[in-house]
């Protein structure tokens, strides 16, 4: 293992290089780009140390938009300001956008035979299962030690029922449940600070 990763870091030379590196890694990201991004940016390119990557990743989760895109923005910005951020974001999205449209236009043909219709249906079920599985996995990221069990759990159930069953617009849920959750987290963080 590297004892002094900081001194061994390398900077990208041009915006074009940023664009190509992100294009390359995003095209390998089937069903999730984050792990590929970690391998490329930290291990291969050495633009970031692992600790920097984790810190950037946790920040990128707090903000709206796809996490990987926020990560790309941050890294591009770090080296070339806003134009670097744009290069990274374009790299992340441009080619996958074209690929996904080709896939989408080809998907119609799949529904012509019963065999491929069945296959599409099977994949759809997997996609739905993935969504539920990812959500459950993320639930371990909720800091129950800090927040306690009852309030986060009640908020979660409240969000599931109001959005999933009653189909209330998400903006109201974010305003109401989001504020309760933030205020609660803030109180807990201050209480924790007082104990120290």
């Amino acid at each position: 293992m590297n004892k002094k990763p900081q001194s061994q870091l390398i900077s990208p030379r041009t915006r074009l290089e940023i664009f190509f590196v992100f294009t390359l890694l995003t095209l390998q990201g089937f069903g999730g780009v984050i792990s590929v991004a970690q391998r490329h940016l930290v291990d291969k390119k050495r633009w970031l140390s692992n600790a920097e990557f984790l810190e950037m990743f946790s920040l990128s989760q707090v903000l709206p938009g796809p996490n990987v895109c926020n990560l790309a923005l941050m890294i591009g910005d770090r080296y070339f300001g806003w134009s670097g951020a744009v290069s990274a974001l374009l790299g992340m999205l441009l080619l996958p956008f074209l690929v996904i449209l080709i896939v989408a236009s080809g998907f119609g043909f799949l529904e012509s035979s019963p065999l491929s219709t069945g296959a599409v249906k099977g994949m759809t079920l997997v996609a739905v299962g993935m969504t539920l599985g990812t959500a459950t996995r993320l639930a371990s990221g909720v800091d129950f030690r800090l927040l306690g069990w009852p309030i986060p759990l009640l908020l979660m159930i409240g969000v599931i029922i109001s959005v999933g069953v009653f189909r209330i617009p998400i903006v109201w849920i974010v305003i109401v449940c989001g504020s309760i959750s933030l205020v609660w987290a803030w109180t807990r963080i201050s209480a924790e600070g007082d104990q120290r």
């Binding site: 903000l63 895109c69 959500a135 999933g164 998400i170």
Partner: protein, 174 residues
């Protein structure tokens, strides 16, 4: 669709873009409500197909929005909806990231981080619930739950699961 319809639709997506903490899948219930239930531009099955294509194609899952746009209005729809979904959140994130980089330890930022987690998990579970709406058979529901548990507990590659799903579906087991 008239120009006015398009403008309001895109504005709805712009709003969702700002709300998409935890990614685009977290606001999928609202996209479903707008496109399928309210405007009836897409069927529930088309929406499911877009989610599936988003997962089997390379790149961020968020690009399912491009498929939704494509299904509604071809290439121009795909471009319009993708821009409406990506640019607002990216602009906000860009400036917020510059700020948070130096303020990550402030209690407000930490409260935001801890406080948003339960909401994001709830929204993603709601997405799953909405997508499961039309499942007719128990076999389908059981299969979905099995996949969810595998994703949750193991590190099996997603594409392998897709392959298994496609095979089981093709031979008519699910």
């Amino acid at each position: 669709m008239s120009v006015a319809d398009w403008v309001t639709l895109l504005l709805q997506f712009v709003l969702l873009s700002f709300l998409a903490i935890g990614g685009v899948m977290a606001v999928a219930p609202d996209m479903h409500r707008v496109l399928v239930d309210e405007r009836m531009l897409l069927t529930h099955d088309q929406f499911l197909t877009a989610v599936t294509i988003g997962k089997v194609s390379p790149g961020p899952n968020a690009l399912m929005v491009a498929v939704l746009g494509y299904q509604v209005a071809g290439l121009s729809g795909a471009i319009a909806m993708s821009l409406a979904m990506v640019i607002p959140s990216a602009t906000l994130a860009f400036y917020a990231l510059r700020w948070t980089k130096f303020n990550a330890q402030r209690p407000g930022v930490r409260a935001f981080k801890f406080g948003s987690a339960p909401i994001v998990v709830g929204l993603l579970l709601a997405t799953g619930l909405v997508l499961m709406k039309n499942f007719s058979s128990t076999v389908e529901t059981i299969f979905v739950i099995v996949i969810a548990v595998i994703i949750w507990r193991t590190k099996v590659h997603l594409m392998l699961l897709m392959l298994i799903g496609a095979t089981l579906g093709a031979i008519g087991l699910i």
